[in-house]
């Protein structure tokens, strides 16, 4: 398999390799080669996704088996009790790593917006009481960069899209995340231009340095469920201005 874009004569071979990958018959080395190409060749990635869709009806052959309770306990330990262990990777770092990995991923229908790299430079300025908080939410190579500025006294949260090349008929919804608590919706950003959302008084206290602001793509008007349903396109941690 070559890393370069194949000419037409290679498409049948590519289809077969994509199918073999999804079937699972390839060796470990060959699987790594396929995955490397998945990251760089959108057309090939679409072939693999299509085989996954096609063959997923075989999943019906797996009759569900409830795993023992200890398995979920072990998962929770691995995910949520690692902070005290000096060698463990904190959960938050895992999130940033996963975001960095978004770069170069080609998702067929959302390629323009779903590729995300988090820029976290200079986020921790010294604290200063009463000053506004600002979060820069950026994604490398994606359609939207946002700067959020929160004035604690007035409760104004101003979100400025630095660049918007966003598909129509979708809304951008802003979320606040504190630690491992569930994300709370802060509202839907105006479709164009600078957006300002007034945060309800009860919510204002939840803003602090280290709060994470995230923007997801939702159906027009915002998430129908109250939780984010679309991809997260921007994410940033609040710091003092």
């Amino acid at each position: 398999m070559t890393a370069s874009t194949p000419d037409k004569g290679d498409f049948r071979r590519d289809e077969v390799i994509a199918g073999e990958y999804v079937l699972g018959v390839l060796s470990a080395d060959d699987r790594r080669k396929v995955e490397a190409r998945l990251a760089s060749d959108r057309h090939f990635a679409a072939m693999v996704t299509r085989w996954q869709n096609n063959l997923s009806s075989f999943d019906e052959a797996y009759d569900p088996v409830v795993p023992p309770a200890r398995t979920f306990a072990a998962i929770e330990r691995r995910l949520f009790e690692t902070a005290s262990s000096p060698t463990a990777v904190p959960v938050r770092a895992g999130l940033w790593q996963s975001l960095a990995l978004w770069r170069g991923l080609a998702l067929a229908s959302l390629a323009a917006v779903a590729i995300m790299g988090a820029s976290m430079a200079g986020l921790f300025a010294p604290p200063s009481g009463g000053r506004p908080l600002v979060a820069e939410m950026t994604g490398k190579g994606i359609s939207v960069d946002l700067v959020a500025r929160f004035d604690r006294d007035s409760g104004h949260l101003r979100v400025t899209p630095v660049a918007t090349r966003q598909a129509e008929q979708k809304s951008l919804e802003l979320w606040l995340i504190n630690g491992d608590n569930p994300a709370v919706s802060l509202g839907v950003l105006p479709q164009t231009g600078e957006g300002e959302i007034i945060i309800a008084p009860a919510m204002r206290a939840k803003f602090s340095r280290g709060s994470v602001l995230a923007v997801s793509i939702e159906p027009l008007g915002g998430s129908p469920t109250g939780s984010a349903t679309g991809p997260i396109i921007a994410l940033g941690k609040a710091r003092d201005l």
Partner: protein, 179 residues
């Protein structure tokens, strides 16, 4: 609908919602555990794999998007990929994709596969167009995570014959689904 529910849960999990993660696990782990058991064939290995799979789901839930397959098949693919990686590491097999592929099939038009196009048929209908043992081999490769060597032994054919069977079957399936 269950797919909508799982989609919503994945969205919440990507925002670090632990309650959503617990619920996602409750709904989906029996299927993913079944995948691990079937492919790995060992209960303790399957439990260990399931842990890794859900750690990965927690960390990568934000990668699920409406452009993907259904959420359940997306999760199943994560589980199958992990289980197959483990079984291939445990029982190494020969590399294949750098060698020449024998794809000769006079009935097929090479141009047919050159474009990703919408599909009007389901895989099940196309599987019925394959010879029985070949369809069976395709299905067992997927469901059980079998290698070409294992399939060749099961069907008592030479390794290269099995490769040719499966590769041509894949092309026939592709051609059928685009028809």
């Amino acid at each position: 609908m269950i797919d909508d529910e799982i989609s919503g849960l994945l969205g919440r999990v990507s925002l670090r919602d632990r309650a959503a993660f617990t619920e996602l696990y409750r709904l989906t782990s029996p299927k993913l555990f079944a995948i691990c058991l079937r492919i790995l064939g060992d209960r303790s290995e399957a439990e260990e794999a399931l842990q890794e799979i859900y750690v990965r789901i927690w960390q990568h839930a934000d990668r699920f998007s409406p452009g993907q397959p259904t959420p359940m098949s997306w999760l199943a693919a994560i589980a199958r990929n992990r289980a197959i990686d483990l079984i291939r590491a445990r029982k190494p097999i020969a590399n294949a994709i750098d060698e020449a592929y024998d794809l000769a099939d006079p009935a097929a038009d090479p141009e047919k596969s050159a474009v990703i196009r919408a599909e009007g048929r389901r895989i099940d209908a196309c599987m019925e167009e394959l010879e029985n043992d070949r369809a069976d081999a395709v299905r067992r490769a997927y469901v059980e995570g079998l290698s070409y060597q294992e399939l060749a032994e099961i069907y008592a054919v030479p390794l290269n014959t099995m490769r040719t069977w499966l590769r041509r079957s894949l092309l026939k399936l592709r051609e059928c689904m685009e028809r």
